[in-house]
Every structure is written in C-alpha cells, then in structure tokens.
C-alpha cells in the first residue's frame, strides 16, 4: 500500500515540476456581478468559466466575481444550479454583469457524472438530480427519505417508523438476488460506507450520519453510461452527493431552527374485551374445551373474570394496549448554523447541526451532532488544493427487532381483558400471577432496557488538482471514511433476557470501519476548430476497507443501576472479528460533441477485487452511448413549439460485488458469522467448516440499454424526459440452495440471470410565470423484474414456515409463492386451500382441500409495485411559497406475517383484529374467516389469506414558507429570513388495513439474500411517522 501512496506522491511531485515548464502568462482580469432576474438579489456561487477551458471561478456572497483570463479567451459561461446558463462574448470588456433567470427546466443544469461534471443538455446517459432546495429542512432522519417521489425510477422505502432504521433504495429495480441491491453512495468523490454495521438483524442506517442541510445536490446515475465509470459496483446505480462549498466574499452566516411534533401514520384495529371474551369462549367450545378458555380468561383478567359467571364481564378490564406504546413527545428539534465565505484565493464552508428526533414509540430517539468544514485554496491559478471533513456523533436509542417479544409493537397481542398493572402497581407479565399475560410485557423494556447505538463518523478527503496545460488537469484525492459504532445494551433483571437468575444481561459491541480510497485522474477538455468538443478522463483508484467488530457480554450485575459490563460478575462472551476487502480500479472516459449536435461517449472501468479468486478477480465494464440534439438541426431550429429535443441511447456493462468477503474458499474456523457461535464445546476450542467455497466466484454483470428522449417545449416552459431501459443481469452471485446433507444450506455461485425493464417519464412545467408562479414536476416509472434463470434450480426458497417470498424463475424477485387460500367451507367452517395441482404454477385444479399439505404452491402476488411516481406542485407569490409532494406506489401486495397470530382463530391467545368478527359460526355461513378453534390451526398458515393490496398514495410533503422581504430585513441587519411549516406524511390513502403500507420487517435482513427477497412483509412493524414541523432560517 505504501508503495502506491509513494507512487501517487511521485505523480504529484512530477506535476509540480511541470508547473514551471507549463506556466505561461495570464492576460486580463474581468469582473462583474451576477444577480437573479426574479428579485434582483445577488447570486452567490455562480460558476463563471471561460468556455472550453477549465479556467473559472465562482461568485462570492455578494454575487461578485473576478476572473483572470488568457488573451485567447473569447466567451464566458455563467452557470448555476436552477438557473439558465448564459454565455457572453468577452470582446474588449473588463466588466460583465449578468442577470440569470431561474428555470424550471433542467437542461442547462450542471450534473455530476463521476470524476467530473457535465451540462445536462450534453448528457448521453440518464442522471436524475435533486437539489438542496427540494430537500432542505425536511424533518426525516436521513436524506434518502427526503428524495422519495422526487426522482423517476428511484424507489425509496423506509422500512418502518423506527428512527435510524433501514431505508431500502432501488434504482430501476433489483439487479441481484443475493448480492446487494443498494446503490453505491459517493460523497464528494468518496465511496462511503452505506451498509448497516449493527450487530442486530435489523438495520441501522449509516447514511443517517449525514446532515441533509450540508447537501448541495444529489445526482442519481441510473443507466450504464452514467454509472459505468464506477464499473464493478454500479449495477444498482450510483448516488453522488455533493456538499456545499465555500464562496469568496463577506462571510455569511445562516441560522436555522425547527421544531416538530409527530405521531404514527396509522393504527390497526383490535377487538376489545367483550368480543375477546366472546371469541375465546367460542373457540374453546368449538374444540370441546370451553373450560380451558374460561380458565385462560380468568388468568388473564387478574381474576376479574369469573368462570362460574362467564356472561358477566362488567369488572373485567378493557385495555387498549396499542395506545400505551406511542410516545407523547415524538417530534424533531433541530438547530443549524453555517458560515461560508473567503476570498479569491481561499474559500470555506463551516456548518454544525444538532438534531434531536424522538420516535413515535417510547424510548426511540436519535440525537445527532454534525460538523462540516470545507476549504478550497488556489495556490495559483493552476494549482488548487482543498479538503473537506465531516464529523458526526449520533446517538440512536434503539428498540428490539420486530420479531422479539420485547418489541413494543407486539403488545397488540395482549388480551384486552388483562390489566396493565397488578394490584401492587407492577406491570402485568407472563410471570405475574396477579396479572398474567400470555407473553412478556414489552412495556417493561421501556423502564428496564437500554440500547444505545453511538456512531462516531468522520468522512474526510483532501485533494490537489493541477492544470498541466490548458484543458488538461490532474486531480488526486485521498479520502478516509471512518466509522465507529458502539452498541451498548443492557437488559435489566425484570426483562425477558435478563431474568431467570441471570441478574441482568449486558452486551457491548464495537464496530469500526475504516474505508480509504485513493484516486488519481486526468481530465482533458478541448474544443477543436470550434465544432469538436472533446472531454477525456483517465484515472485509477484503490480502495481498502477494514471492519473490526468486537463484542463483549456479561451477566450477574449487582444492580440495574450499575449496568456497565465491568460490573458483571460473569462474563459470557468476548469476540473480536476482522474482515477486509480491497478494490483496485482503472477507468477512462471520452466524451465527444460535434457541432453542438452529435454526442458520443465511451467509458470503461477495470476493477479487481479481493472478494474473488485469483482466476476471476478482474472484471471489465465498458459503456458506449450517443446523443443527437435534433433541436440544433436546421429543420427544428426555428420551430416555435419545440425548443429542445435530444435523442440518446446508451449500452454498457456494470458489475456487482456486494457480497461478504472471502466467499470463494472452503474455510475452517473456530468461529463464524455464517454459522453462529463458536465451534468450542465444554470450554475447549473446536474447528469446523464454516462455508463451502467456490474458487470460480466472480463478478455479477449487468448489461443495460437505455433509449431516451429529452424535450423542451414552448421555450422550455415544458420540459421532460422519456426513457426506456432494459437491464439484463447474468452470472448472478447467487447464494444457491444446496442439499443440506452436505452440512450447509447454501453455496455462493455465479448462477442464473434476471432482467429489469421499464419506462420512465418526467415532465416539468412552468404553468404560471410572473408574480404568481406555479411549477409542476411529475414523474412516473414502471419497472418489471423477472428472474430468468436460477441455473439448474427453478426456485430459491427462503420462506420457512411463516413467509411467502421466493426467487422463482419467470417471476419477479421476492414473489409471493405458496398455498392459495380458498376461503371457508360453509358447511363446517374449515379453512380451505385450492389444490392447484396438475399444471405447474397455473392455478389449475380449483378443487379445494382443508389439508394444507395436499394443496400445492402457486404464485400468489408480487411485492414489487407496478408503478411508482411523484407529483410536486410549487406555488410562489412574492415571498410566499407553497409546495406539496404527492407520492405513490401502485400494484404491489403486502403480506401480513403477523396474521398467523392476530387473525388466526385463537390458535393462540393473541388478541384478534376486528375483521375476524365475521368468522364462520354455523353451517351455511358465507365468510372468509374460518371457525375459531382454540389451539388448533384452522387456516392460520402463511398463505394468500394474509396477502392484500399494498398500493398507496401519500401526501409526502407539504411546505408553506414565507421569505421576509429584503427591505424589512436590512433594518435588522439580516440578509435573509424564512419562516416555514412542513407537514410530512400527513395523508395516506391505501386499501391496506395494517398500520402503514410502506412497510418492511426489520429482522428478516440477516443475509443479503433474505434482505433482497423478503419484500413487502409486515410483522408488527412500526408505522411510519407523520409530522408537523415549524421552522425558521435566518441569514446575516
């Protein structure tokens, strides 16, 4: 490694040497001011470039710029995000003032393309951009949640309303079955750690460490042309985050404060005492055991239910358990302060934030401190250096996973006849004979459990760039993303884990991820003969990531008050684990534009990774693309209606290597994350195989073709994009099921293929311009996923007994596959299933059976939506702005995994959902709810019975803001002031009867395969957060 660093240093050294050779005289200095056409205010941060060169600067806080240009400089280009770029002949002028007009169109936007930038108009690939303005101040724990519904083909779903939990991001569908499906995240050129590092099965989102208000823009690289420069890890798209930079001029401060209140988006209805008693007795009678039902009622009611007088339930408690778990002080409280400024030579940006979010469930919160410092310095006009560093310290108070008895949401299982407290004021519980519950009472966790996840995160990078000759610059970057997560858990003596003579259980884990990258690349931009624009990029990069995980555990604590592990009398576990991977990459790109009309691009990347065996370590990922700007052609140039029209097409290969490390070898070990526990026995160490390797394991490759049309109509009042794409993934990195007679259930292999194809449509319109402005952004996307092969197998089955998701040939990923529920036999109340045998998968034989085993599996539904989309409307009048974002997901199903408990004919004593009241009671009853039978399974299996439509339409975000007029502000010596209210998730329209249709079960993601396949499941998942927030931003 050292060797490479030396070589890089040597490269820089050579550069410095060449400075003296290549330096040449500067011409004149041009200065001026850039203002906004809308309100005449100065525009800071506008890029001012000499056309066809890399000579340029940015306007300062006052909108002013000063730029030294060579004698041969002819045209200045002024560009700024959200404004129409302007080109101006320099001629003999030394002062050029510019007025920029705000645009709704995005054609002239600067987009980040990976190791460079481009103007959107010149793109031959598909990149969606979300700017700071769209997401700033959104009161969500992490930025991905704020872009939900704002970019076509980008599906974002927050797993649940648990603060800090996982967010599932899918760009143009899932491209893999067992390897990761999450995009690559790049912050200011740094590939950052974005996978959960928690030791729990549920995810903790490392992206929540980023301060959303530091983000200047988010560029989402969707097609192969855009993403191929990130080669081996670009199959799922790339999300490039650019943070705010410093600006020259007077130092400008910005202060923000917001406060919000939140509540769950929905509740589920459960029966109350009268119905619970009625149903349980009926269930008992139906299996000739009402006495047992009565004894249960007596037990759970704390003796208030009298089996001798079962019809009198006046004294029996009627507890609404669900209402006990929601926090009264849920909401956000956030304080931001930033400063930016500098001079011609040096610019800086500093920001700090303290954000406290209390979740909707008691005990769940996240408190985050972030600081960011960015410094850019021009050593000379050719030589620039800079650094940026963000630190974050995040304390997330977490909750038990969805499947744990101590999960608060599972409280809905408690019988309503049970009191919350016994006569002595202690919580009712499964051990409390004075107030007995069928399960452990999770409310005890709110007083006797601690789960503090503290993240320390530092993402830093330093760069040096040098313009070797005009148009040719070299940039070298070194970055380190260091993350340390400490999860400190303690289960008190009363808790499920800490009782039974354990006298409290403590566990401390530390996970440190050091992820460093060095990148060096050359950019060359040149215009030949005015008609040939050439842009070349060539570079290499090396990444090494090391993860250390330590875990300590103990029990027998002297007191719940002394709950650090040093106090534990018995130490029960000590683990230290280390795992590493490396990537070595070489990349190149050539963009060529001819006559402003014809665009060509060629790019490629060679990647090598330690994750693969020697023979198959390297992969090559090229992409080719072309574009044709028809509106520059004579036949369209003067067209009154069409102002812009571009056809583009791209084809390329991208790879995926998001798998665990060291999978290619058959390994023996004494401890293993894949098998669990240690191989030791009776205090003696042991060894065994921990995995079956596969020496031929190599890259999973996705080829993607994209054909797109960009258009502008009526002077770009209406702009839009239409894209068709197909992604074919082959050599799937598949955690293939193998006969367990081998000792293992799975083996990784490059087997099978899948495809995603779809359509995206984006339209942006400026409906009203003038004082009253009304803009509309609409995007809609359709993606179809299909597993086309799984090698010799036809199915990859991870269902177990409680879920339905599989990977199945001919079906989309995560397809719901299982027994098809056929309702209830009117004669006897038996649950029925369709036999479905005969033809493969076809719902052939419609005869029914009450025997689950006799029925055959059939394809039952799809957890992937048919359509996703978003509609944003923004109105502004003078200083008042109103915007609302509607977001929707259509055509997917949700499986209620908890149905087998909560809508399950009293197979157990769990309280039942109100829809179960329409159960079968007597011969002739027509219903789809089977007869209640205590402790007997009557349709309470994973089947299509618990599958429902999961479509939804959500008022994702409403924002009303008022910008105080400048004239009033000047008196208070303020430069800007904005007051706003934001409503998040205020309204949801859905046929789903559960808590919330945006749902995922957090414990099902222990392996990537499971995480990829277990889509659309609800298992006591925490509903999403509905919030109302007020805030203010002041600039001075």
């Amino acid at each position: 490694m050292m060797k490479r660093l030396l070589l890089n240093s040597f490269a820089i050294f050579c550069l410095l040497l060449s400075v003296s050779v290549a330096a040449y005289a500067q011409g004149r200095t041009i200065s001026g001011k850039v203002t906004s056409k809308d309100d005449g205010t100065p525009l800071p941060g506008v890029t001012v470039m000499v056309k066809g060169t890399t000579v340029g600067t940015q306007t300062d806080v006052e909108g002013a710029y000063k730029l030294s240009v060579g004698d041969d400089a002819k045209i200045l280009v002024f560009s700024f995000v959200g404004y129409t770029s302007v080109e101006r002949e320099i001629g003999s002028q030394t002062s050029i003032d510019i007025i920029l007009q705000e645009i709704t169109t995005t054609m002239n936007e600067v987009v980040v393309i990976g190791y460079g930038t481009a103007i959107k108009q010149d793109l031959t690939g598909n990149i969606a951009k979300v700017s700071a303005k769209d997401i700033q101040n959104t009161p969500t724990p992490s930025f991905e949640q704020a872009i939900q519904g704002r970019a076509a083909g980008v599906s974002v779903s927050t797993e649940s309303g648990k603060i800090g939990g996982g967010v599932r991001m899918r760009i143009r569908g899932s491209s893999s079955v067992s390897a990761g499906n999450e995009p690559l995240y790049v912050v200011d050129g740094v590939i950052i750690t974005s996978e959960s590092q928690s030791v729990t099965e549920s995810r903790l989102n490392p992206l929540a460490d980023l301060n959303m208000n530091d983000i200047a823009s988010i560029d989402i690289l969707k097609d192969a042309q855009a993403a191929a420069i990130y080669g081996a890890r670009a199959a799922n798209g790339v999300i490039i985050i650019t943070t705010k930079k410093g600006l020259s001029g007077k130092t400008k401060f910005n202060l923000g404060y917001q406060h919000g209140w939140s509540s769950p988006t929905g509740k589920r209805e459960f029966v109350s005492t009268a119905d619970y008693v009625k149903l349980l007795r009926e269930a008992g009678k139906n299996v000739d055991d009402e006495a047992f039902a009565l004894s249960l009622l007596e037990g759970y009611s704390g003796g208030k239910f009298d089996p001798a007088n079962p019809d009198n339930i006046q004294n029996v408690p009627n507890t609404n358990w669900q209402d006990l778990i929601y926090s009264k002080d849920a909401g956000i409280s956030q304080f931001d302060l930033s400063a930016q400024g500098g001079n011609d030579k040096t610019q800086f940006f500093i920001s700090g934030q303290r954000s406290l979010q209390n979740g909707i469930l008691i005990g769940n919160s996240m408190e985050r401190f972030t600081g960011r410092f960015t410094l850019d310095h021009n050593v000379s006009t050719k030589f620039k250096i800079g650094l940026s560093n963000q630190i974050a310290n995040t304390l997330t108070k977490r909750l038990a996973d969805d499947n744990e008895f101590s999960s608060l949401m599972q409280i809905v299982a408690m019988p309503p006849v049970a009191p919350v407290f016994d006569v002595d004021g202690n919580y009712s519980n499964d051990r409390n004979d004075k107030a007995l519950l069928p399960y452990y009472n999770p409310l005890i966790n709110t007083i006797a459990n601690r789960f503090d996840a503290t993240t320390f995160r530092s993402i830093g990078s330093a760069y040096a760039s040098y313009e070797i000759i005009k148009g040719l610059s070299l940039k070298t970057e070194f970055s380190l993303d260091y993350m340390r997560l400490t999860e400190d858990r303690y289960w008190g003596r009363q808790t499920l884990e800490g009782r039974d003579g354990k006298d409290g259980v403590g566990e401390l884990s530390n996970t440190a991820v050091a992820n460093y990258t060095t990148t060096t690349f050359l950019n060359y931009n040149k215009v030949f003969a005015e008609k040939h624009n050439l842009s070349l990029t060539l570079g290499q990069s090396f990444q090494k990531s090391t993860t250390d995980t330590d875990l300590l555990a103990g029990q027998k604590f002297p007191s719940d008050k002394l709950s650090k592990l040093s106090s534990a009398a018995t130490k029960t576990d000590a683990q230290a684990n280390r795992t590493q991977y490396t990537f070595a990459s070489y990349f190149a790109r050539a963009n060529y534009k001819f006559n402003n009309r014809y665009l060509f691009s060629l790019s490629g990347r060679v990647d090598g990774s330690s994750r693969f065996g020697e023979n198959s370590r390297y992969g090559f990922f090229p992409a080719i693309s072309a574009g044709w700007i028809l509106s520059e052609e004579t036949f369209l140039k003067e067209n009154k209606i069409v102002s812009f029209l571009k056809l583009r097409a791209s084809y390329g290969l991208v790879g995926n290597a998001a798998i665990p490390n060291n999978l290619h070898q058959s390994l023996v070990g004494s401890a293993s994350v894949t098998v669990g526990g240690t191989a030791g026995y009776a205090g003696t160490s042991g060894l065994r195989y921990i995995q079956i390797g596969n020496p031929n394991l190599t890259w999973e490759t996705t080829s993607q073709v994209d054909i797109g049309l960009d258009f502008g109509i009526l002077k770009d009042r209406i702009t839009g994009e239409i894209d068709f794409y197909q992604k074919n993934t082959r050599d799937l990195l598949l955690q293939r099921p193998i006969p367990t007679t081998s000792g293992f259930a799975t083996q990784w292999a490059n087997v099978g293929s899948l495809k995603n194809y779809g359509f995206e449509f984006v339209i942006n319109t400026a409906n009203l311009v003038g004082d009253l402005k009304w803009n509309t952004n609409f995007n809609i996307a359709i993606n179809r996923n299909e597993i086309t092969s799984l090698g010799a197998d036809s199915i990859l089955d991870v269902r177990g007994s409680r879920y339905l998701n599989v990977a199945k040939v001919g079906q989309p990923i995560g397809t719901f596959y299982g027994r098809e529920y056929a309702g209830v036999n009117p004669d006897n109340g038996d649950a029925l299933y369709y036999l479905n045998n005969g033809t493969k998968d076809a719902k052939g034989n419609r005869a029914t059976t009450n025997d689950f085993n006799q029925a055959k599996d059939a394809v039952l539904g799809n957890p992937n939506p048919n359509w996703i989309g978003g509609l944003t409307n923004t109105f502004s009048y003078k200083g008042v702005e109103l915007s609302f974002l509607l977001q929707w997901v259509q055509g997917n199903q949700i499986f209620n995994g908890a149905g087998v408990f909560m809508s399950a004919n009293f197979i157990y004593e769990d309280n039942q959902t109100t829809d179960q009241l329409k159960r079968w009671q007597k011969p002739g009853d027509i219903t789809d709810v089977p007869q209640f039978r205590l402790y007997v399974n009557n349709g309470s299996n994973a089947s299509s019975r618990y599958l429902t439509d999961g479509s939804y339409l959500r008022l994702r975000n409403v924002q009303l803001a008022y910008n105080v007029p400048t004239k009033w502000l000047s008196k208070a010596k303020l430069s800007s002031a904005r007051i706003y209210i934001i409503g998040q998730n205020l309204l949801t329209f859905t046929p789903y009867k559960g808590w919330d249709p945006e749902v995922s079960t957090d414990y099902l993601g222990a392996t990537t395969t499971n995480y990829n396949l277990f889509l659309g499941n609800d298992f006591y998942s925490t509903p999403q957060i509905k919030s109302f927030t007020v805030g203010v931003n002041v600039g001075f």
Partner: protein, 453 residues
C-alpha cells in the same frame, strides 16, 4: 510544446504505473478462518476438529432441544401433553398435523448433517493422528457422532421400523453421508441400510473408545446408544447385552433420586452422556421451552398415570397461569442436558430380557424394581409388559422418548386432522413421520417425500 506533451505522457504513465502494484493488495486473507490444508496440520488440530463436531450437537435444533422436544410432543396424546407456546412449529408436532414447511423440520435435518459433516472432517484427517491410543479414541468419537445423528434423523424422517419386516423399502430411510462438504444429490437409503451404517459406526466406536473419556463419548456411551439402536429394531438380545455391558462396565451409578439427575452444573453420577452447558455457551434450550416459556404443559391425562406417591410425579410443578410443567428443566443457566443416562439401560435390559424371557445381568423384575424404588414406589412382585412400558414412560418423561417408544410398542395417540377434529393415530400413521423438508425437496430431485405430504 513538445516538452509539454512529453510531460503529459510521463504523467499518464505514472498513473498507470501507480496501479500495477495493486495485484498483491487484492490478496486479502480471512482473519477468523483458513484453508483446511493450512489449519488442520497436526494431531492436535484433528482433536480440535472433533470438538467442533461435538459443538454441532449442542445446536438448539439438535440435542439443544428440538430433537428431544418434538419427539416428546409427537408421542403424546392431546390429553397428556399440549404445546402452549406461541411457536407454531412445535405445536404442529403436538397436534400431529405437521406442515411440509415446518421450520423445525428443516432445521433439525440441517443440524444433524452439520454434525455429521464435522465428524467426517475428523475421519478424513485421521492420517495426521500418529499416536495409536489417540487415533482409536478420536476415530471412535467421530463415528459415534456420525452414528447418533443418522439415528436421530432416521427416527424422525424415516418410516417406522416394522418388526419382522426387512425394512428394505426404497426411500424409507434417510440419506447416508460419509464425506465432507458433499453436495451430491443423495437418495434416501432404506431403513435397514441406514441402521447397518449406524450399527457399524457404533460398534467400531465401542471397540475403539476408552473406558473413560471425561464428558466426551467413551466405550459405554457408544454401547448405550448401540443398545438404543438395537432396541428400536427389536434386536432384543443385542440390546440387552449392550445395556448390560453399560451397566456393568460404565462406572456410572444411579443417582439417589431422579431429581438429582437434572438441573446440574456437571454430569450426575448417572449421566452416560450429557450436553455440556456453561455461562459462555448456554445451550440447554430444553429449560427455555419446558419451563421458562411455559410452553410444554403436562395435563391430567399424563399426570394421572403416575401413582400419587411417585417421586417423579412430585418433579412436576405448577407455574404461572396454572400450567403444570416438568421439573427436569428448571435450571435456566448452565445446566448440563442429559441425553442418555444409566436408568435407561436398566429399562432396556428389563424390556429385552422380558421379551426374550431371559435374565441376563438381572431379572426384569429386579431391574424394574430398582427404578421404582428410587422413585419411592413399592416393589412389584410380578411383571407384565405394560408394567415395563409404563415404568419406562414415567421414568423418561420430558426427555424426548415418547414417539420412538410409541412406534416400537405399536401404540396410538390422539391428534388433530386438517379439519380440527380429534383423531386417533396408530404408530404407523403417516402423520407421525415428519416430512422431508420442503427446501430439501426443492434442491434435490432424488429425494422422495414421505406419504401424506
């Protein structure tokens, strides 16, 4: 100008050069594991591999609980024992209506073959063991592990062993695995083929194991399992003789009370083989299901089979919610989990002697009375086959024998049918054989599913 381009060319070269040294950096070794050829290189290493095999036995899906728990539930009538827990998988065993996607069914299968894989890894590396004594012992222990797991799954997934039949029906047993990491699509062997392998392994183990071997398998432990294996096949003479060898040669003694055999931090004087559990590796999940979670409720139908003064009846206690629970599994922390204990050998010897009308070692009456007297019961003066069976059932209750004994004795139990009706199931009913796991059927077309699934 030329100089400039030379500089550029030089720089580009440096860039590329900067990358060529990366090859070595792509060689990243795991930190917690290694290739077998690097890690298993000596006699000591083979011994460590053997321990890895034992560890696999402690899985909650093997002897840690599920193999014993589900055998108990499947062999009891609805009026005797009910599963009151929230997990549906053991309830299906309790209700005798097992679904093909039952998670325990898949997990027990895997746990068994994982242990077998560990044992085979030992056997494949025997060449590294030079010392003759160690060689015998290690090989004996590995074969013991391989045999008992084949035996457990044969009894759970195989068709019942029919007395007097050749038990040679195709696909009636389970796949036999004798290689490591072997992904071949194995067929189910016949019942008699699997028993032949089990017997061969156990006989070899008994021959090679030392008389005493700490908490690990010794000669008597192999003989004790062999005795179980013979009994299940009605090979009374062999079962009797093996049990007798254990009784006379094991250096174990009956504990003073049955209670003294359970909830111990160390093996009791009676334990032939027990799963070790400690604070770092608390693997006794029987305690979790039988007592902590109050999942296994003993009902009057079972409790009334005990005489009121039976000390083993007194081991039951009433937990929260008025559930009667087994006192054999009350210690939640670090209690060893007895898998086979000396009392069973007396019961086997009695049952076999009785069937053969012999009195090898002792008369059946003597053996039964020995067990009875420890439980505070009066000595019998005469003996019927039912007396022997009852004594065995009551002595070994809550230890995972019910279904295996029921099949051997050709008994019947009650359960539910798909329609929720209570039905009687004979010992050879398909419902009393677990299905081959669904996921296994998916990946291995050579497997044939059991009847009824």
């Amino acid at each position: 100008m030329l100089k400039k381009y030379i500089n550029i060319a030089a720089l580009s070269t440096i860039l590329v050069l900067g990358g060529t040294s990366c090859g070595a950096d792509l060689e990243v070794k795991p930190f917690l594991s290694g290739l077998p050829k690097d890690v298993i290189t000596s006699e000591t290493d083979v011994q460590t591999v053997l321990i890895g095999g034992y560890e696999a036995l402690t899985s909650t899906n093997a002897y840690g609980s599920r193999m014993l728990l589900n055998a108990e539930l499947l062999g009891a009538s609805l009026a005797e024992i009910r599963w009151r827990g929230t997990f549906d998988d053991p309830r299906q065993f309790s209700n005798k209506y097992i679904l093909v996607n039952n998670a325990d069914v898949a997990a027990m299968w895997l746990a068994a073959y994982r242990t077998i894989n560990g044992a085979n890894l030992v056997l494949e590396n025997m060449a590294l063991v030079k010392d003759e004594t160690a060689k015998n012992r290690i090989e004996g222990e590995a074969k013991f592990l391989r045999a008992i797991m084949h035996f457990e799954i044969l009894r759970i997934y195989g068709k019942p062993f029919i007395q007097g039949s050749a038990n040679n029906d195709a696909d009636s047993g389970v796949p036999i695995q004798t290689k490591t990491n072997n992904t071949e699509l194995l067929k189910r062997s016949t019942i008699s083929e699997v028993y032949a392998v089990i017997e061969a392994d156990l006989k070899d183990a008994e021959a090679k194991l030392p008389a005493s071997n700490g908490v690990y398998a010794d000669k008597s432990v192999a003989a004790a399992f062999l005795s179980r294996v013979y009994l299940q096949q009605y090979k009374y003479a062999e079962a009797r003789d093996a049990a007798n060898r254990v009784i006379t040669g094991s250096r174990r003694t009956l504990a003073a009370t049955v209670a003294a055999c359970f909830n111990n931090a160390k093996n009791s004087s009676e334990d032939l083989f027990a799963i070790q559990s400690n604070a770092q590796d608390n693997v006794n999940q029987m305690a979790s299901f039988f007592v902590s979670r109050r999942d296994v409720q003993y009902l009057p139908g079972m409790l009334n089979q005990f005489a009121s003064n039976d000390a083993r009846r007194a081991l039951f206690f009433v937990g929260a919610g008025s559930r009667t629970l087994s006192g054999k599994w009350t210690e939640q922390n670090n209690a060893v989990l007895p898998v086979i204990r000396l009392a069973e050998m007396y019961l086997i010897r009695a049952e076999a002697n009785f069937a053969l009308t012999t009195s090898v070692g002792a008369s059946p009456l003597e053996d039964i009375n020995r067990i009875r007297q420890r439980a505070n019961l009066s000595a019998l003066t005469s003996l019927t086959v039912d007396d022997i069976r009852r004594e065995r059932k009551l002595e070994l209750i809550a230890e995972g024998h019910l279904i295996h004994d029921l099949k051997r004795w050709k008994g019947a139990v009650t359960g539910f049918d798909a329609g929720g009706n209570t039905i009687n199931l004979n010992y050879d009913a398909p419902a009393l054989v677990a299905p081959i796991p669904q996921r296994e059927m998916n990946v291995n077309p050579n497997l044939k599913q059991n009847a009824g699934y």
